[in-house]
Symmetry: C2
Subunit: 238 residues, 2 copies
């Protein structure tokens, strides 16, 4: 965050307004990196409801319209946040661990990062990878790992997409209210579901979301292991 404190004279006093006269400043106040950093900080402190272009401008001590010299829309700011967050996802295990453990570590890390940023998921899910270089780098790391592990070329994208879909869907669950499955007055008409819910005890839903994620992830890993075996078999015959 280099660009922040240059323009205003007194950083130790809570200056409220963008005290800067109109016209181009001597040195640029804004750039995409600074905007991204401020946006991320704002989102972390106040959440996505409070994340408005006006609030972001205020955090940067700038008029809202100034932002549009550096980004074309609020959506673009979300994309910048998304790409930065993706660089925080841990793919290091693809260099050190067996493929299945690497996938496990990656998926847990991926979910952990985006569980706190679910409003980005609709943006990410339909975003061309070319608009997000760090995201592309993550895919490359995963692809490389799976390829080295012997996965058939044609399965790799499908496996990544399936895992990612599961991660995104599961990220929502982490933030669900603890009593999401309480059927209330309708419990009588849903005996089997209510019994299944009751059998879970009182461990809290956050833990329950982890159980479901683990269950699904292990099933996916096991299923993909079979794919890999098929691929290796076919190649050794040829």
């Amino acid at each position: 965050m280099p660009a922040a404190t240059s323009a205003t004279a007194d950083p130790h006093r809570p200056d409220a307004k963008p005290r800067r006269r109109a016209g181009r400043p001597p040195s640029a106040v804004l750039d995409q990196d600074g905007i991204t950093a401020a946006a991320l900080q704002l989102v972390r402190k106040s959440g996505y409801d409070a994340f408005t272009m006006a609030a972001l401008a205020r955090a940067l001590n700038v008029a809202p319209s100034a932002l549009y010299n550096h980004v074309s829309s609020k959506r673009e700011v979300l994309v910048l946040i998304q790409d930065h967050l993706t660089s925080l996802v841990d793919v290091s295990a693809f260099g050190t661990e067996p493929w299945d453990q690497a996938v496990r570590d990656w998926a847990w890390s991926y979910r952990a990062v985006f569980a706190r940023h679910t409003p980005l998921i609709p943006v990410i899910a339909v975003l061309p990878v070319a608009d997000a270089p760090k995201t592309l780098a993550m895919y490359e790391a995963v692809s490389t790992g799976l390829r080295r592990a012997g996965f058939p070329q044609q399965c790799i994208v499908a496996a990544i997409v399936a895992l990612e879909s599961f991660v995104f869907g599961s990220a929502y669950d982490v933030n669900a209210p603890a009593d999401i499955f309480a059927s209330g007055s309708m419990a009588a008409s849903t005996p089997n579901f209510s019994a299944a819910v009751d059998s879970l005890g009182e461990e809290g839903y956050a833990h329950q979301a982890d159980v479901a994620f683990s269950l699904g992830l292990e099933a996916l890993i096991a299923g993909f292991g079979a794919l890999r075996a098929q691929g290796r078999e076919a190649r050794s015959e040829a």
Copy 2:
């Protein structure tokens, strides 16, 4: 014919405005079912961007503020839509097919319904089931099916949550642009991922999303089959 078409005089002419005087009308114009139906029709015709309270009111030939006598917020309308859509998900196979085929049919149907309604996913994912009776009915049908198939009680909720997470994540993929994986000028720095993408040929991403969904779903079903086997084994020993 006195009650039904009384408010607007000429139904054959495109009357634009809510031609009705102020004050309570002789018979109620609005109710939750009517609002839900109109909202769904509006969303289907014009999409979620065009779905505003003002547009909904216009479709119902009513002032926007009138809606708030029947729903407390736009979000509540989304919940009504969601619950109705969930009743369109096909769970019939849980009564006729083996559990694995039933899960398969259910998941494909579930994804098909919500692929066209991805803006609802953030709403559904954190919605208490008690607020959505038809959704609860779906869970009951699935729970009953899994229980009859011999799944251990404690696994059922986790399995449903995992499947649902995968379905929601996959629903986004269906609407992704065809060139979402085109890495463009960065292809050189991502050789493995680019090669994996290139190996897919030109079948279009919609088909590719189906392949990934099938791959993940079959892995999940296979993994859950193992759970079921463990449960049966443990019970026969006891």
